[in-house]
């Protein structure tokens, strides 16, 4: 009945409760009957209010990791353990890959400065022919190529020079570190495409194979486009599995 809550790191209590419960679930702590302690019990054992406990449980339920039944109790959703991938929660391909239990590696294929194409200028809301930084990369999982990405951002957004290895990290980190920009939301179009020569070669697929394509634009907190990207998933190597919990 002691608190078990990690020491204060200026992190909201509800998040620490959420992470603690998630850790316990993944450790199989409730695997006997899949039932979690009641909210009241968690309040007492963790020393927090019920609202805080509920905030944590709501987050886990919206991830699909637990299900709650009024009048009954809260249960682990065993089908969502491990294989779970929630689109809304996955901004980083590296975490997507490592969530499937493999080692993620980013390889840079090409990095160039050039004028924006008409479509890119329109998506980024910059003047035609504005100079952009274009980066093509491939994400590997345990050495296997799984995602091909092509990212474009205006060079005017760069606030300071960056070292070459800066591009070997997720670009959201790059945006914060070298552009001073915080992302807030993005809009993504999901579609099916056929692998062209370059994509097929990089992802080690037959040319013309069907492939998942994701076109996305990332926006800052003050609603300006930061970056546009086209991504191709090699679904043979990386399943895009989503859990939808009823709202």
């Amino acid at each position: 009945m002691k608190t078990d809550l990690p020491i204060d790191r200026h992190e909201p209590v509800a998040k620490r409760v959420r992470d603690l419960i998630r850790t316990r679930i993944n450790a199989g702590e409730y695997s006997l009957n899949g039932r979690l302690p009641s909210e009241a019990q968690l309040c007492v054992s963790l020393g927090v209010s019920r609202a805080t406990v509920r905030t944590a449980l709501e987050a886990l339920a919206s991830e699909g990791l637990i299900t709650r039944r009024q009048g009954d109790g809260t249960y682990v959703n065993r089908r969502a353990i491990g294989v779970m991938t929630r689109f809304e929660a996955n901004w980083e391909f590296t975490s997507l890959i490592e969530g499937s239990g493999r080692k993620a590696l980013i390889e840079i294929l090409c990095e160039e400065r050039r004028p924006a194409s008409p479509k890119e200028a329109s998506l980024l809301e910059v003047p035609k022919l504005e100079e952009v930084l274009a980066i093509r990369r491939v994400f590997k999982a345990d050495g296997l190529p799984v995602i091909y990405t092509s990212d474009v951002l205006p060079t005017a957004m760069l606030t300071e020079p960056y070292p070459p290895e800066a591009l070997s990290q997720p670009l959201l980190n790059f945006l914060e570190a070298y552009c001073g920009q915080h992302h807030l939301f993005n809009i993504a179009d999901v579609s099916a495409a056929l692998a062209d020569r370059e994509v097929a070669e990089v992802l080690d697929l037959p040319r013309g194979a069907p492939i998942l394509r994701l076109d996305e634009v990332i926006y800052s907190s003050d609603d300006r486009p930061l970056l546009c990207a086209v991504n191709f998933y090699n679904e043979k190597a990386l399943r895009l599995r989503l859990v939808r919990a009823r709202t």
Copy 2:
């Protein structure tokens, strides 16, 4: 400064507040500068507590419809109006279609009882060759075929006879009405495929065209599989556009 809240229909106050604000946003009520009243102002004008207002605003923020900035205010995300489609919130193809401003129609292609295939039996967790009801349908938007669906559920789950027109509605309604089952969550695999003869014909596509494929299993609140389905999207006619809000 009067309440404006719709009359009580046994619906949670927070949901009514959420819907009211959503209606106001869509009506362009805050389109001058895109700024919503502060939480405190909403509390007073709607006559509810701040926690209730925040529950409503949190839901809208997770839809991507509004953005909130600490120390500043709450703003409409104009990029998410109208075109928005949130995967987690879209269980019904009909609402997906009508959300794009078109008229949805369901057409039944085939309805049969037959033994389950090995894969179906495994997904539905029933004995091999168990009898299932298989339904193939096409969803049309303003008359254009946009989604091809193939649904399979064990006939043992049917609790009462159903009229033929029952299949012309979303199957989640069917599950409630004729199987007495409530769905709780589903797991979906997104992939790219090539249109085979039947799919191409039904969706009016060239054979071999790339097409989005969604394999899903729907589970009940007590964690049993209710239904498995394979769906094909004609993305030329129905864009799958998603908004991701940072959590």
